[in-house]
Each structure stands twice: as structure tokens, then as C-alpha cells.
């Protein structure tokens, strides 16, 4: 076998090994959405409490926490106490919480909100269009939007209070560099 061919085979095998090592080390649930780092999509959806439509415009200049949830989603219930505590902490500040009901009936969503102490604004994404525009894979998913209207990060799976608080504080302090506040991922 010529020398160049031996070298090529060695390089190809080494490259394959490197690719396999990187692939196996990767968290299989860590699938990146295409929306982080881009402007948050505006939307208008009906509120679960029946008080009419809620319009979200990313130019509001506030830090926004968007949480996609459903009544049938067990991890959503697991993360809910952390959301309740974080909301109580920031409700009087410049941080906006919005819950978005995803793939659920209005009645079930209303019951969930009532039974689990969800007092922040909640809306019904009954056709899944908002979830699509944010690149939601599965719930719960929480998106953090900086004051500049850019989606700074996304947390998949149940979120804890520390992660929530750290992300919010980071965004409030460094809204111009939101990308460093939240590492995309979770679970």
C-alpha cells in the first residue's frame, strides 16, 4: 500500500473516531432551536382568565420570561413552584412573566392555572403558532428575552429557581450581552 494511502486511511479513521467521540459526548436531548439570538416574535393571544387578548411586543424594553406549559405535562407541574417563587420576587419589577398554554384545552389550562397558583398572565396558543415561531420542541420550555427584544436563551425541561433567578439577574444587569446569561439547554 503506498505511503499516501496509508496516511489517508489513518487520517480518515482518526477523523471518524473524533466525530464519534464528540457525538457520544453530546447530550441527546440538547437540540438547539433556531431562534436564540434572534428577535423575539410578537404575538397576540387570548388570555386564559377571559380578560381578552394579550399582545406581546418585543420592543417593550423589559426582560421577559416566556414559559410554555400544559396541564397534562408532569414536568410543568414540577417546575411550577420555582416559577411561582420567581414571579413573586419580580412581579413589582421590570420583569414580565407570560405563561403560554400549548396543545391543551382551554378548560384544562384554566383549571391548571387556578389549582397551581399561577397568577402571572397566561395565554392560549391553541393553534401552536407561537410555539412554532419560537421553535418549541416539547414542554416545558422557558425562553428568556432581553430588554433589547432578542431571545437570549432557552431552557428545556423543568427549570429551577436558581437558574431562573440567575438568568433574570444577568439579563437585567447585562441586557446588551444577553447571550452570555443563559446557556441553551436543560433537561
Amino acid at each position: 500500500m503506498p505511503r499516501w494511502l496509508r496516511l489517508a486511511v489513518v487520517v480518515a479513521i482518526a477523523a471518524l473516531v473524533v466525530v464519534l467521540i464528540l457525538a457520544f459526548r453530546r447530550e441527546p436531548t440538547d437540540v438547539r432551536t433556531g431562534t436564540v439570538g434572534r428577535p423575539a416574535a410578537a404575538f397576540t393571544l387570548q388570555q386564559l382568565d377571559g380578560s381578552g387578548p394579550l399582545t406581546f411586543g418585543p420592543t417593550d424594553g423589559k426582560v421577559v420570561v416566556l414559559n410554555f406549559f400544559a396541564s397534562w405535562c408532569i414536568p410543568c407541574k414540577q417546575e411550577n413552584p420555582a416559577l411561582v417563587r420567581a414571579y413573586e420576587r419580580y412581579r413589582a419589577s421590570d420583569v414580565v412573566f407570560i405563561g403560554i398554554l400549548y396543545q391543551d384545552s382551554l378548560e384544562s389550562g384554566q383549571r391548571y392555572v387556578r389549582d397551581n397558583g399561577v397568577t402571572w398572565p397566561t395565554v392560549n396558543d391553541d393553534r401552536g403558532r407561537v410555539a412554532f415561531s419560537y421553535g418549541v420542541f416539547g414542554i416545558p420550555e422557558t425562553f428568556f428575552i432581553g430588554a433589547d427584544g432578542i431571545i437570549a436563551g432557552r431552557h428545556t425541561g423543568p427549570i429551577d429557581e436558581t437558574t431562573l433567578t440567575n438568568a433574570i439577574e444577568c439579563l437585567r444587569g447585562k441586557s446588551a450581552d444577553g447571550a452570555r446569561c443563559i446557556r441553551e439547554g436543560g433537561r
Binding site: P2, R32, R127, R129, F132, S133
Partner: protein, 153 residues
Amino acid sequence: MTRSRGILVVAMLVVLAAVGWSARPHEPSAEERVDRITAELRCVVCQGLSVKDSPSESARQMREIVAQRVTEGRTDEEIRDEFRASYGDWVVLAPPIASWTGLIWLVPVAALVAGIAVAWRRLGAAAAAPPAATADEVAALRRRVARAEADDE
């Protein structure tokens, strides 16, 4: 005989006409476009299923979005771009050649070219005439043969 040949020719012409008619280029209907586009998109909550093939609620909603975009007059590329904007290149079942995922297409081609190159060299080497033996090699061989014959005697 002549009559049966005529029937055979007519039958073949009918079959050819039917095949030609079915394979004629035509403008796809909206439904065909939705089917084609959703077959190229990955269901985001499934394991290796397309949006078209998945029975999940997410896939159903995505099919609705594609159908709406087709009705609005968007091109296939615009619809695919919208999905890529939300979910990245991952959402397209056939990875685009332009991004780093293009390696998936290039590696087999490179391997095939390398394989052909190796086979070509091997075949060329096998076809080439073996080099002629030198005078020393011939003399050494004669000595070995003579020794072998002497041993036999």
C-alpha cells in the same frame, strides 16, 4: 397472425401512452405540495419521522402551517426557510449541502472516488508486465535448480 400482431402493437401503444400521460410534467396541486414539503420536514417530537408521516399533535399543527403558507402563495423554499428559522437546519430531513452538514453528502462521494482510485492503481499494477530478472538472479536460480537435481540423484 397479422391481426394478433396488430392487436399487440395497439396494446403496447396504449400502455406507452398511459405511462407517458402519467409521467407528464404537470403543475403540482396545493395538496401535492403540502405532501412534498411535509415529507421533507422532521417531526420535532418524533424519532426519525417526517411531519407528513407523524400522527403527533405537533406534526398536525405543522402540516396546518405548511398548508396555510401554500395557500398564501409562498414558495417551497420560503416555507422551508421559515421552518429552518424556527428549528435550525436540523428540521430538514435532507441536510443542506451549504452548511457543515454537507459533509454527510461529500464523505460518501469522497470515499467512492478514493475506492475507485485504489482499484485503478491495483488493476494497473496487476496488468503491468513483471520486471525481467537480472543476470545475477538467473544465475542464482540455475544454481538452486542444479543443487536440487544433485540432491535428488
